[in-house]
């Protein structure tokens, strides 16, 4: 009973998603920083885009691996989930067949982690854009 009241309180204080907020979330996921640009948060969007693009492209330059759809291996699956956080960048990398070369340098593993982390950070930034759009954050 107490839990039910608590849940109702949380539901009452949680802002409802608006079409603009959903758009900011999706755009932010597809293109790093785009959700913030849509909300006219130019500096934040620019810094987020610069950070995520830097991580992604330096990761590619370090010969990092782009994970493919493979649910047979747990690590591959987690890497794939991280990678798809990059949105369109992941799609472009997949189409251009980037990140598929044989790893022959010690720092290539850094590149793989850079790309996965860029995806996870992009998801964080897209959720931040959503929170700004619903008024949960300034």
């Amino acid at each position: 009973m107490a839990n039910n009241t608590e849940a109702q309180k949380i539901m009452a204080t949680t802002p409802a998603p608006t079409p603009q907020a959903i758009m900011a979330l999706v755009l932010g996921w597809l293109l790093p920083g785009a959700g913030h640009f849509m909300l006219k948060k130019w500096y934040r969007g620019g810094l987020l885009a610069a950070s995520i693009f830097t991580l992604f492209f330096v990761g590619m330059g370090l010969q990092g691996k782009i994970y493919s759809y493979n649910f047979g291996d747990l690590l591959e699956m987690l890497g794939f989930i991280g990678d798809i956080g990059n949105g369109l960048l992941y799609g472009i990398a997949h189409i251009m067949d980037w990140g598929q070369g044989a790893i022959n340098r010690a720092t290539a593993d850094y590149g793989t982690k850079y790309i996965v982390c860029a995806g996870l950070l992009n998801v964080m930034s897209a959720i931040d854009a959503y929170h700004i759009a619903v008024g949960k954050k300034q």
């Binding site: 995520i52 590619m60 982390c117 950070l121 964080m124 930034s125």
Partner: protein
């Protein structure tokens, strides 16, 4: 495109980019964002030095 970075430079670059995103997404006011970003960056870099010393002692 091939980039060659040392382990330390790669760790610093990662720390910088991740700290910027953490600072912006986890705080609301610009001043707090800057402070939190700097805090995250110092933790990342501090962690690199601690890990380096731990590995040095393990190697000995």
């Amino acid at each position: 495109m091939n980039i060659s970075l040392s382990h330390f430079t790669a760790a610093l670059l990662f720390a910088l980019c991740a700290s910027v995103v953490f600072g912006i997404t986890q705080r609301s006011a610009p001043k707090d964002m800057l402070r939190y970003g700097a805090y995250c960056f110092s933790l990342f870099v501090g962690g690199v030095f601690v890990a380096a010393w731990v590995m040095w002692f393990i190697k000995r």
